[in-house]
């Protein structure tokens, strides 16, 4: 925990290894609360969550439908705003940013991989990859671009439109887009949700390699234990709170923990 006066994330959770006080989080939320609706219809999607994502780590967020895992990711990534609490990307308190500052921060420091509708249909694969850089008016480092493209294995398909690519290839383009801007953190929302198992394995391998080889930080929301097993740390959410955490997980330990939590 970053500060001693904050309550633990959840009473039932084992206290995670206390990071050094000087640690620079890639992203963190403190007392994150998100409420939808008012009165009778009020839904607490996040209920005072405090968590940090350390740099160079692949973190997975798991939980049943409606547990708040997507909301946590969206609020941490600056796609949505918290009702209460704070959210940081690096050392920037994004809850204090204007809409425009937040947009530019996302553009320059955050990478995204979504479940679907990841790509612009009118642009080629290459143009989709450089899209955030183009938005910023920057051009990609050619060597790095080549390396990323080689990593995700898109070499000969770069000039194809998304409609000419398979679902797996489209997600590879999305991953390449997230990697090429060397963001401080990549958020992935069910990136393999629409893919067959082989394509899923490929995508997850690319992300895990980026973490291992380039010290990239990745936060992934998933309900798939197989996907989660590629991560180095798993957070379990239920009813808007972090209920458990698992380090260096395996498929079996994940399934066991899910069973214990009744997920």
């Amino acid at each position: 925990m970053t500060s001693p006066d904050l309550p633990p994330a959840a009473p039932t959770a084992p206290v995670p290894p206390a990071p050094a006080a000087t640690i620079a989080w890639a992203a963190q939320v403190i007392g994150a609360t998100k409420v939808y609706g008012v009165g009778e219809a009020e839904v607490r999607a996040l209920d005072g969550v405090t968590v940090g994502f350390e740099p160079g780590r692949f973190t997975a967020i798991m939980g049943p439908s409606g547990s708040g895992k997507s909301t946590l990711m969206q609020c941490a990534a600056g796609l949505d705003r918290l009702t209460a609490g704070q959210a940081f990307i690096g050392d920037v308190d994004i809850t204090r940013l204007t809409e425009k500052q937040l947009t530019l921060l996302r553009r320059d420091r955050v990478g995204f991989v979504f479940q679907q509708f990841n790509l612009l249909p009118t642009l080629t694969a290459r143009e989709n990859i450089t899209f955030p850089l183009d938005l910023a008016g920057r051009s990609p480092d050619p060597a790095w671009m080549d390396q990323v493209v080689a990593t995700v294995g898109l070499g000969d398909r770069l000039d194809h439109k998304p409609s000419e690519l398979s679902g797996g290839q489209q997600q590879r383009v999305a991953v390449a887009r997230a990697l090429v801007e060397r963001p401080q953190i990549i958020f992935a929302d069910e990136p393999t949700g629409n893919l067959d198992s082989r394509s899923s394995a490929e995508i997850l391998t690319f992300m895990a390699r980026a973490v291992a080889e380039q010290a990239q930080t990745v936060v992934m929301v998933t309900h798939d234990p197989v996907a989660a097993s590629y991560a180095g740390r798993i957070l379990f959410l239920a009813d808007g709170r972090i209920v458990d955490e698992l380090l260096a997980p395996t498929r079996e330990s994940i399934l066991a923990r899910m069973g214990a939590l009744g997920i």
Binding site: A77, L79, R107, F117, D134, L135, G137
Partner: protein, 857 residues
Amino acid sequence: MLRYALTNLRANLTRLISTALAVIIGIGFLAAGLMLTDAMRAALTGTVDLEYARVDLVVEPAGAIEGGPASVPGSVLDAVRATDGVAAAAGELTGPVNLLGRNDESLTSRAQGRSWIDDDELDPLSIESGRAPRSATGSTTDGDGDVEVAVDRGTAEDQDLEVGSHVRLATPSGPVAATVVGVTNLGGQDALDDGGTFSFAPTDATRLLAPGTGGWTRILVATDEGRTRAVADTLREDLPRSVEVQDGDRFRSDQRAMSAGLVDLLRPLLQGFAYLAMFVAAFVIFNTFSVVVTQRFRELALIRAVGGTPAQVRRSLLFEGAVIGAVSSAIGIVFGMGLAFAVQAILGAFDIRLPGAGLSVRPWTIVLCLTVGTVVTVLSVFVPAFRAGRTKPVEAMRDAAVDHSGTSTVRAVIGGSALALGLALLLGVRLVGLTSWLLPPGALLLFVGVLVGGPLVARLFAGALRVPARRLGLTARLAVDNTVRNPRRTATTANALVIGLFLVTVVTVSGDALKRFTVEKIDELSASDYIVAAGANGISPELVAKVQGTDGVAAGAPIRQTVVLDSSGRMVFLSGADIDLLRRSTGLAAEDGSIDAVADGTGAAVPALAGASGGGAGPGEDRSMAPLPTRTGSTMELVAADGTTVGVPVVATLKPELDTLLLQVVVSDERFTELAGDQPVSMIYVRVDPGQADAVGRRLNRLVAGHTGVEVQPGNFLGQLVGQVFDFLINTVNALLGMSVIIALVGIVNTLTLSIIERRRELGMVRALGMTRQQVGRMVRAEAVLIGTLGTLIGVGSGLLLGWVLIGSLSAEIALEVNWARITLVVLLGVAAGVVASILPARRATRVEMVEAMAAT
């Protein structure tokens, strides 16, 4: 299925707003036009029956034309009164009169002076207070004694006049001092004439309203019970042949037709533009429903999967169209009422009072508007409905609903060949000199080609722009790509704009060229320096003398003009003048024969081009103009004032100059009086001393001030007038076409809004990836500008082409000098339309909430 259609209508209300708006604007325009013209017609024709209710017979100059001189001699009135069976007869005389203010400014406009009719049977006016005007003795223009006048109730109230008020009036014979002795009304209405009615005693009226002659416009006759026919026969026998006798019913119906003439011309014109607006609206409706069908693709497939037949799917969409059409038309009618009121109010603010207060809403108007609006909507929904019916059940299971249509080979072939053939025909007409009969089919093919081949054109357009757009950055590039995602939709949107701007360009280009050509031709002709012209009421001898005596006037030739009949009853337009004066004041010259022979009183001169002016019937008349002889040596048989037929030899043909064009058949003053009797001077040709033109113009204008109906015009006024008429027509037509451009604008808003709804998830994604709101807004605006530019370029381009061919086919002499300033303005307006149209969709696009957008499935 009908319930399904209704729930859909409710669910998709916002998407259908633009459809409704397009119909409302179009139908509103139609309704406003109908209501206004109905009201005007009712007002203009309604008074005819009140005014001439008791008239059994009318004695008019033979071949009387509206606005012709008041030329039924006073002796005829005496003769009519003396005829057995005539209960009452009165001379009718009207002329423009205006109330003058302290500084001689006109306080009324379009007011009429009238001769008071003493006979109760024939008099349409009633005295409300005071008494009828009586002749004042010995008063002259601006003299010592006041003229007595009765004013109508409306003018009395507006101008704070009452019995006993002293006023100054402008009349055809100059300003005059008058005393109000009575206030009149017309069967309960304020006034007989729109601008007000000033009634004078008959002797005053003839002096003030018909200077120079003592004639009447016409004589109204009431006969003893049952003797109308007998009296008519007697009068036809006894009266000179220069006048004719008409029965009252025929006269009233002629008057009604004449009063409504302008409105009857205006009405189909306004309707034409309204139908054009509805045609453009059809594009908007078609587009909306195409998109709605695409968006509901899966839903429609589901209906088919659970057992809905294609016919049921079709019917439900057509029903939706019918409901929207009917409801929007109804709103359109209400909107039309508001529009009509607004038009009246706006014109009223500029002191232009349309005849007829309020609106006339006839059942027919409502039926027509509802029918047109509903039918157009249902027809526009037809194609999308059929497409919806073809939805396959299996498509419910498919993922994306993308409209890939619009670039099929069939379409390309049809559109391309229509375009090519149309172009070939038009260019053939212009360059190779093919018969101009091929012009309409060429234009039609071009039009069809543009409409059918639109998606291809859109694709080519975007392809051409892609390279420069790339240089302008990502948002420009994306905007270009987005416009051709659905080329058919883009093309349909642009085409709505094409129709309006195409017509604007054709009208502007060919109108400009025709105007320039005509004005140049007219200006080549020589003319007098000034024309002092009067309306029907003529110019008093005093004013003629004053004009001739004005400093700097070298010569002033008074002209008398009238229509006489030839021996076979056809009309001949006759001018009488002092030939010597005429020669000194105009460019009068003989092409053949001798003008001297006209001067000595024997013969007539005719314009050298006379043959061209024959044919054609006068307004409200079944009499035709007699074709004029074209050569000297022939003789015209004309009916003289005393009823005898006189042979008038043609002794000269006149060079076609401006002045002679206005004169037609010229005879000497003596001959004119013999043929046409006593007629007022209708205009004076004035030649000024060298270098004096401006000064004389100012002096003449001062001289005619206060003489209503008398104007000083430059001798070449015809050129200016024609130029003004052309400008007025071009501007009016363009303003009316503007209505269709507005609907096209609604179409652009519509297309963009719908495509933004479709692309919500994508917009959410690009916002997540770091596209700022400004960039999103810029992208949408660029899309709108692209669609606007596409429509503008096609519209203006094809308009220029057709204008060029059109002008070329009329005459090789007419140079096509395109008014580039105006064309540039049209192009800028088209592009600006795109920018304006993008405001709402761009707002909508920038407001897309990322999380919500991406969650939506």
